[in-house]
Amino acid sequence: MKRVLAILVEDRPGVLTRVSGLFSRRGYNIQNIAVGRTIEPGISRMTVTVDADRVTVEQIVKQLNKLVNVLKVSDLTEESSVGRELMLIKVKAEPEKRGDIQQLVATFRAKIIDVSPDSMIVEVTGDENKLQAFMLMMQEFGIKEIAATGNVALLRGGRTTREARN
């Protein structure tokens, strides 16, 4: 099953390689990965989505914890969490189709951020299911290209990742 890991790492050269290299050499498959800053200077957050069973994920977490630059690894799937991905979709948009697209954009609470004579770029945020559904709708018009961030996630409630139980 799909599992989401939050990994806090020291922001140093090569750390992304250390983490992603560990996944590949131990035969774990990364579905997507997002890297960004945190509120602590010098600490970055990686959110990695993997498709693996519970035992495998336990082993992944233990191996990640052995990396000297890794501060904390948390399997967010084990607790209640929220995840979001951001996607930009460049869709064909002849003038007569723009109205239909705008309606769908409104329904999905997405946003049009660029318009040209024959295409638009739509920004949409949500969990994987929502993005899948939106893409399906956009396919009718013809998707030219997409760019997506990968999933980012936080625990629900007041606790931070550092305070997570696992």
């Binding site: 020291e10 090569g14 290299g21 233990k62 990396l67 000297v68 890794v70």
Partner: protein
């Protein structure tokens, strides 16, 4: 105090108590070598960087200290790779220092540039590229700390040429500030109590111990624990020596070439107490068929080892020495007389054995037995990898830890001889015996020059069967006797080879010559190569075919 980077390295090594380094100079470490020269730090020049890495590894295994190896950039660094991987697989503390091209040249495919931190990422516990001189002291402090604590392992420091030349202020940090690296030493008290309860209830318990016992210096605790509880012990290849071979309840090595008693004890056990061992495939055989009746208590300093290959009912993360001490306080001897008798019966009825026909051919096991007899069992033994390694493990009984030095996890041919050089550097007064194969020895025989130049009286015993013997054995058993490229006929005359380097060379081709040659070699002052021509048909038995249950043994029949 203003020092250049190279001078700082020497100060760091001094602060870490490093007495000797193994290495090979080159363009990107000239400044560092200039300081080694000026300071008079003891340096063992090998004839190949791989030899230097294995020698540092052998030094570490024999002494328990962290080994240090130095090489230049590019090919110097890449030649270390096998040695580093070897140390990584067996959790040996090593600090490798490599030269790197000057910082402005990094990434430009400069002469003798290799991305050695990238290359060694999967085979080091951690590695560093020093990009700022002011970070150098902290990096060295951390490197030695990481290499020598927790689950030990190799750490590499890549040092650009211009960093060695640049000058700056030097102060060696007193403490390591690593919030992300905190090995757990004390075992969880609740888990230890659970383990004690499981031990008390067990009917058929076995201790399965490994290299972690050697690494943590827990041999005395392990023996005490076994004696107190009466639980029999089997040790892996890297754990050999951590229990005296003569101990009543010692069962020998388990696994592919393990003893009947060890494999049957594990397979029939209702409780396995794994102590600093990692359930390697060479031990478990087919993992689904391994110890199906047993509950597992797994004690290891590395949490990632627990549950990796075999599920553990009672995991205990911690230093095995400390955990065994706590377990001893809580454990009560179980009632296992019937089981003890069963295990002793297996041991008695199905021992390891061989037959030496008086008229020859010389059996390799006979050579090993004679080496044991004539060294009084008092040598530090190193081995290469293959048949001779398994025979050494089977027929050279051991008294103490750190006296059997062998490449376990990586299985590196060419390891034994340079490792023996390292062990001899650590213990100049002791007999260091390298049991090698004719194939393995040729992978690092150039180190004869190192042994001769540094007056290191290593005794090499080549078990010469003119074959890559283990490959030949597998081809005989599993590939229809098609001996694809495993015959080594055409190898050099090892006696003359030794003599060419200024070492002594001796040969034994008959049964009578074997003890004579060994005695003569042991009386010779300098390094000696003994070339034992043995029966090329001899196989290592018992044997468990790969991916089958460890009770499906070829050989190992009853007396």
């Amino acid at each position: 105090m203003r020092l250049n980077g190279a001078q700082m390295v020497l100060r760091c090594l001094e602060a870490e108590g490093v007495e000797v380094v193994f290495g090979y100079p080159g363009g990107a470490v000239l400044t560092l070598y200039d300081e080694i020269y000026k300071k008079g730090l003891r340096h063992i020049l090998t004839r190949h960087e791989q030899g230097a890495a294995h020698a540092a590894d052998g030094y570490a295994r024999a002494s328990g200290k962290t080994g240090v190896v130095i090489a230049t950039s590019g090919p110097g660094a890449t030649n270390l790779v096998t040695g580093i991987a070897n140390a990584y697989m067996d959790s040996i503390p090593l600090v490798a220092i490599t030269g790197q091209v000057a910082r402005p040249g990094i990434g430009t495919d400069a002469f003798q540039e290799a991305d050695i931190t990238g290359i060694t990422l999967p085979i080091t516990k951690h590695n560093y590229l020093v990009t700022k001189l002011e970070e150098l002291p902290r990096i060295f402090k951390e490197a030695f700390h990481i290499a020598g604590t927790g689950r030990k392992g190799p750490v590499l420091i890549d040092l650009p040429k211009d960093v060695q030349i640049e000058e700056g202020d030097f102060a060696y940090p007193q403490r390591v500030e690593l919030s992300t690296y905190r090995p757990v030493y004390e075992g969880h008290a609740g888990q230890i109590s659970r383990a004690a309860t499981a031990i008390r209830k067990a009917k058929k318990p076995v201790i399965y111990s490994g290299g972690g016992v050697v690494s943590s210096g827990a041999s005395a605790e392990l023996l005490e624990f076994s004696k107190y509880t009466g639980i029999p012990v089997t040790t892996t290849l890297t754990g050999l020596g951590s229990i005296p071979s003569a101990y009543t309840y010692y069962l020998g090595m388990p696994g592919m070439h393990g003893t009947y008693a060890a494999n049957h004890a594990l397979s029939n056990a209702d409780l396995i107490i794994a102590v600093g061992a990692r359930f390697d495939d060479r031990v478990t055989g087919k993992v689904d068929a391994f110890a199906v009746h047993a509950q597992v208590i797994h004690i290891d300093i590395d949490p990632a080892e627990i549950g990796k290959n075999v599920a553990a009912a009672i995991p205990i993360v911690g230093d095995v020495k400390l955990v065994l001490q706590e377990l001893l306080k809580k454990a009560k001897p179980p009632e296992i007389e019937e089981w003890q008798n069963q295990v002793l019966a297996w041991k008695k009825e199905r021992p390891l054995r061989f037959h030496q026909p008086p008229g020859g051919p010389v059996k390799p096991q006979f050579v090993i037995s004679e080496l044991y007899r004539l060294t009084g069992g008092d040598a530090i033994v190193t081995t290469d990898v293959g048949q001779h390694q398994m025979w050494a493990a089977q027929y050279y009984p051991l008294e103490k830890p750190r006296t059997f030095i062998s490449s376990g996890g990586l299985g590196t041919m060419g390891f034994g001889f340079p490792a023996a050089i390292g062990a001899q550097v650590a213990f100049p007064g002791r007999t260091v015996l390298c049991i090698a194969g004719d194939g393995s020895f040729q992978m690092n025989s150039q180190e004869l020059a190192t042994a001769v130049c540094h007056k290191l009286p290593v005794k090499v015993a080549i078990i010469n069967n003119q074959y890559l013997g283990m490959v030949r054995q597998w081809q005989e058993f599993f590939y229809g006797g098609r001996y694809a490229h495993s015959c080594l006929a055409g190898s050099p005359d090892f006696v003359k080879l030794a003599e060419a380097y200024g070492a002594a060379g001796m040969r034994a081709s008959t049964v009578e010559e074997v003890p004579r040659v060994i005695a003569a070699a042991l009386e010779t002052e300098g390094p000696v190569v003994m070339d034992f021509h043995v029966d090329p048909q001899e196989n290592v038995l018992p044997m468990v075919a790969p991916n089958t249950s460890i009770v499906e043994m070829i050989g190992g029949d009853a007396l």
